[in-house]
Symmetry: C2
Subunit: 235 residues, 2 copies
């Protein structure tokens, strides 16, 4: 673990635990509902399993996470201390979406986007039976370009053609789709500018925006342009 700051300040003591790389993202992932090792991994795909294991143990020692074994299934759960991180993670996300606007190319991960979408499709607003939504990111290499959301009473995400008829298709550069998801730009604006195109029967085309619940942070009010001094974390 990170070495001590040598301060009794509660902020310092909290950060000794929480400012270790990946830690807050693991907590975020657990807040989002992941309870199993490989579920959490899906939310932090760039983290090695060794490191995730280590972080979970550190969080366990700190009393933030509890590990339960039942049979040969392992479950991780937030303790009371962990649940009290919810408002902090929310505040960090709100701050992040207000003040860190720039996304690098390396931030645009289609797996993560689809993983997020999966949890946020309003199944109950969709037609009964099976609906297949196609996603195409024309700017990506062929292997990552096409995705399918097969919606029944649950949502399955496929990165290979599941073979079903596609009822409606969304086409947009990955960056645009991510920005729509984050609420950086509105669905209507993206459509109007031509960056985002929906193909399919007009009834589905007009219904589709209602199916997507955007990121929890999408509705966060953004700072007016007068408040922006500079936003650049690169370099």
């Amino acid at each position: 673990m990170a070495s001590s700051y040598g301060q009794f300040c509660p902020v310092a003591k909290a950060m000794e635990l929480l400012d270790e790389r990946w830690t807050m993202l693991v907590v975020r992932e657990m807040i989002a509902g992941s309870q199993h090792f490989n579920d959490i991994r899906r939310g932090v795909p760039n983290m090695s399993p060794t490191l995730l294991s280590k972080r979970l143990r550190t969080l366990g020692r700190a009393g933030v996470v509890e590990r339960w074994e039942h049979g040969n299934r392992v479950t991780y759960q937030l303790t009371q201390a962990g649940r009290e991180l919810v408002p902090i993670v929310e505040a960090l996300g709100q701050w992040g979406i207000r003040w860190i606007g720039e996304l690098g190319e390396e931030d645009l991960d289609p797996h993560l986007l689809m993983w997020d979408l999966r949890r946020n499709i309003a199944v109950d607003r969709m037609p009964p039976g099976r609906t297949v939504i196609g996603f195409t990111f024309p700017d990506l290499e062929p292997a990552a370009r096409d995705w399918w959301a097969v919606v029944t009473d649950e949502v399955d995400i496929c990165d290979h053609d599941p073979g079903f008829e596609v009822h409606v298709r969304v086409l947009a550069p990955l960056r645009t789709m991510v920005q729509v998801w984050r609420g950086d730009i509105g669905w209507a604006d993206a459509t109007r500018s031509g960056d985002l195109v929906v193909e399919g029967p007009s009834r589905l085309r007009s219904a589709l925006p209602e199916w997507f619940l955007l990121s929890d942070f999408a509705a966060t009010p953004r700072p007016g342009p007068e408040a922006v001094t500079s936003i650049s974390v690169g370099g």
Copy 2:
């Protein structure tokens, strides 16, 4: 700077900046009012000046801090983005004081304690004229044992005898004094147990507790014992 997490999630983007070691403590120090390089340093004494310089530049690039030169004096100020970290730092401190109870020996820094006290003595509740409060931490080596707070209309902290008559003296192990400051234990409890002793005229002895404004986090309600699973961040 820390490498990217490769995620567009606003929490991840925020943490790319904020989870770098020392960063939040620099922000905390600026929230507490420090505006000059060496003032900030006093709040993060274990941080090398090189590193502080680097962090201030990173925070500058990120639009959290602004650097002003006037004459040969340099001032650092929080921007709007920086001021919006205030609730996050407060929440982190509240979480820290609730859930990270253990303080290691290395966390007990008398300089930091006196530096904190300096900012939190209620001068207006004290007798007019000069009042000198002595502090003795009997458990410390002689060089760090005795401190003086010379209160006039402002507060001066001395680690060498300033030569004035001491009107009232507080004696306590450093850990006890820190715990009182943090609100982990009450002044009255510390006195009753004999860990903390006040010497001087009875009028001053009984007035003295009113002079100390404790840490901003002292009043944070603590979790009931039933909520505590384990608290240990050690290695």
